[in-house]
Symmetry: C2
DNA sequence: GAGTCATTTCGTTAACAATCGAAATTAAGC
DNA sequence: GCTTAATTTCGATTGTTAACGAAATGACTC
């Protein structure tokens, strides 16, 4: 577990203080996904999504890993950050009834990168 | 418990996403306090502190009550908001080792409104 | 190593948030 | 009800953040 000062706490909560980032966390709860898949569900510019992902990663909520030509993002499994390790299990149970989140998660189940991620 | 949609969650986390508001929560953990006492510890303009307090109150973390010519703020005891009721006990244990928070809480123990809140 | 496509970085714009001082409001005590 | 002092609201300024499109980077495939 890394240090736990007030700046760290601020960064962790800031990561959670945007509804699009909360949507991303709920989507990744369904399964790991590439940026283009997340983008297609959120309907935001890829650069915007990339920025949100970086904030969530820097706070310790998600991690990335290369998979061929894709970069997959997934919820962090081994939490390094104390705050995240306590918040993540809580948040997992939250927002399950939110209409937008439900719709997002439904799409996340069926999204197919080989269909979506072409241009 | 009130509704728990994504906008509510966003507001709750946004309330926690500023270090001065985190300091206020830790200070109020010591004891209920008037605005002028909190201001004297944080060393911010009263209008700034008032704004932070309103955000924390609207998110459900604190409540206010009149006490003569003062308005006392205290941590909410009966949590109406589901998210707050889960976060508040966690947060209570956090930041205890942060130097600034320790200094704040030390001051909070000895602050005396009858000495501080004159002009 | 050239082409292709996913991802990230950059530069810009617009909206939002933190801060302050000053003015307005509220309430207590005489 | 007048005075005094605490608190809140208002207006302006400054800094931060979310968003976009375009350009740059990175990596796989041939």
């Amino acid at each position: 577990m890394t240090t736990k000062n007030i700046k760290t706490a601020e960064r962790v909560f800031k990561a959670l203080s945007d509804s699009n980032r909360l949507r991303i966390l709920k989507i990744l709860q369904v399964k790991p996904m590439a940026v283009c898949e997340i983008t297609s569900i959120l309907k935001l510019a890829t650069s915007t999504v990339s920025n949100h992902l970086a904030l969530l990663r820097d706070a310790g909520f998600i991690q990335d890993e290369k998979d061929g030509k894709w970069v997959n993002y997934r919820l962090t499994d081994e939490y390094i950050e104390k705050y995240v390790s306590e918040l993540a299990p809580l948040f997992r149970e939250w927002l399950e009834d939110d209409p937008l989140v439900k719709s997002d998660m439904k799409q996340a189940k069926i999204v197919d990168r080989f269909v979506i991620c072409k241009q």
